[in-house]
């Protein structure tokens, strides 16, 4: 692990100076993980590719500002997530979500999410509607707080919470359908 970090630090140092091979190494090292963040946030490959391209170009352009080369991954992830937020910010239609609907979540006794494969879970997250999908991914997977999500997406904290519950409810319903169909 220590050696890997040393290699990464050396590669980042070379990439700062515009070395294409070093940049290619960083791209191949991180592109898949970052792309999956993008696909979950945007819900489709085409937009995800556009965002990933933009994010890597921004990262390489501003690589000189990165103080600790070992933290490249986290730094890149922030750029990617910010690009995803920027991309979708203006286009969300926030659907209403009532308190009664939220109450049904309290009944959860089974861990329905562990009854399906991670691949199905990943696929169903991508199919969630705009708005609630981004909130769900940011909160549950990227560990953002509702306060941060509200600030970044320009909504209230309660909207962020209700959209998270909506996403969770939809996910459960859709996964239950999947189980009913495929077993």
């Amino acid at each position: 692990m220590g050696t890997a970090k040393t290699i990464q630090a050396a590669v980042v140092t070379k990439a700062v100076n515009g070395d294409r091979d070093a940049q290619a190494w960083l791209y191949h090292q991180y592109s898949k993980a970052m792309f999956n963040v993008c696909t979950r946030m945007t819900g489709n490959h085409s937009n995800a590719e556009d965002i990933l391209q933009e994010a890597f170009m921004t990262a390489f352009k501003n690589l000189g500002q990165l103080k600790d080369a070992d933290s490249f991954g986290g730094w890149l992830k922030r750029i990617v997530v910010n690009e995803c937020i920027r991309h979708g910010k203006n286009g969300f239609a926030w659907s209403e979500w009532s308190d009664e609907q939220s109450d049904t979540l309290a009944d959860e006794t089974t861990e329905w999410w562990s009854t399906v494969s991670l691949e199905i879970l990943h696929r169903e997250i991508k199919k969630l509607p705009d708005g609630c999908r981004q909130v769900f991914v940011l909160y549950a997977m990227e560990d953002y707080s509702h306060k941060d999500i509200a600030a970044d997406l320009g909504v209230s904290e309660s909207t962020s919470k209700s959209q998270y519950h909506r996403a969770r409810q939809l996910l459960r319903e859709r996964i239950n359908i999947q189980i009913a169909i495929h077993g």
Binding site: K32, N36, N44, A140
Partner: protein, 230 residues
């Protein structure tokens, strides 16, 4: 932390099932300088198209106005030569006489000098009509194209640019009314029309691109469509 969140956090790294396209790195790695030839070609093509349109317009105008110009020469020329109360009725032999004269009379020279602004006004009118038709045609295309993706606000930038160009066009026309026509103003007018056509073309391409993408990724019955009010 909720159980679902905990579960997803634990398995986040394993949930990497998607892969970016193999050509994405090529796009990222392409140096910005490589874009320059593309722009140059685009500009050259645009320039060539503009030149062809201009030549065609000029040829058309010359063809349409050649007879009218000849008709106009005669009364002005005669006006200079004779008092107002003895002006003869316009007739073709009079034109022939003026044309056959070896040394043109000063009056004819005046007529020739005055022809220029007339031609330029005719040119401007012709631009307005021909470009206007093209612009309207393109606008009609866009208004009748169903849009399946994004919301109308996504296209606000195009609308703003078109509005700005309308304002620019109005300003040039006011300038022409106040200060008379000049080659510079005609050029400015052409530029505005060309920019309008470029913006409309880009908008149409953007809509087509977006529609194709959305139609490929979603079942047809789940698509909502709307029309741009532009």
């Amino acid at each position: 932390m909720g159980e679902l969140k905990k579960y997803l956090q634990q398995h986040k790294e394993e949930m990497s099932f998607d892969e970016p396209g193999p050509l994405l790195w090529e796009k990222i790695a392409a140096p910005p300088a490589k874009k320059q030839p593309g722009r140059l070609v685009k500009f050259t093509v645009r320039f060539a198209v503009a030149a062809v349109i201009l030549v065609m317009l000029l040829a058309g105008i010359r063809f349409l106005t050649s007879e009218k110009t000849q008709e106009k020469i005669e009364p002005v020329a005669i006006k200079k030569q004779a008092p107002a109360d003895t002006i003869p009725q316009p007739s073709t032999p009079a034109i022939a006489e003026i044309k056959d004269t070896v040394k043109p009379a000063p009056a004819l020279a005046v007529v020739k000098a005055k022809k220029k602004p007339d031609e330029r006004y005719a040119l401007m009118k012709s631009f307005k009509e021909s470009y206007g038709e093209l612009v309207n045609y393109q606008l009609q295309n866009i208004r009748t194209t169903p849009v399946y993706a994004e919301n109308p606000a996504y296209f606000n930038d195009f609308k703003t640019r078109l509005r700005q160009m309308d304002t620019d066009e109005a300003a040039i026309r006011t300038n022409i009314r106040q200060n008379g026509i000049s080659n510079t103003l005609i050029e400015q007018l052409i530029n505005v029309y060309q920019q309008k056509l470029d913006v409309l073309k880009s908008l149409q391409q953007e809509i087509n691109k977006m529609n194709t993408r959305v139609q490929q990724e979603n079942p047809a019955d789940s698509l909502n469509k709307y029309y741009l009010n532009i």
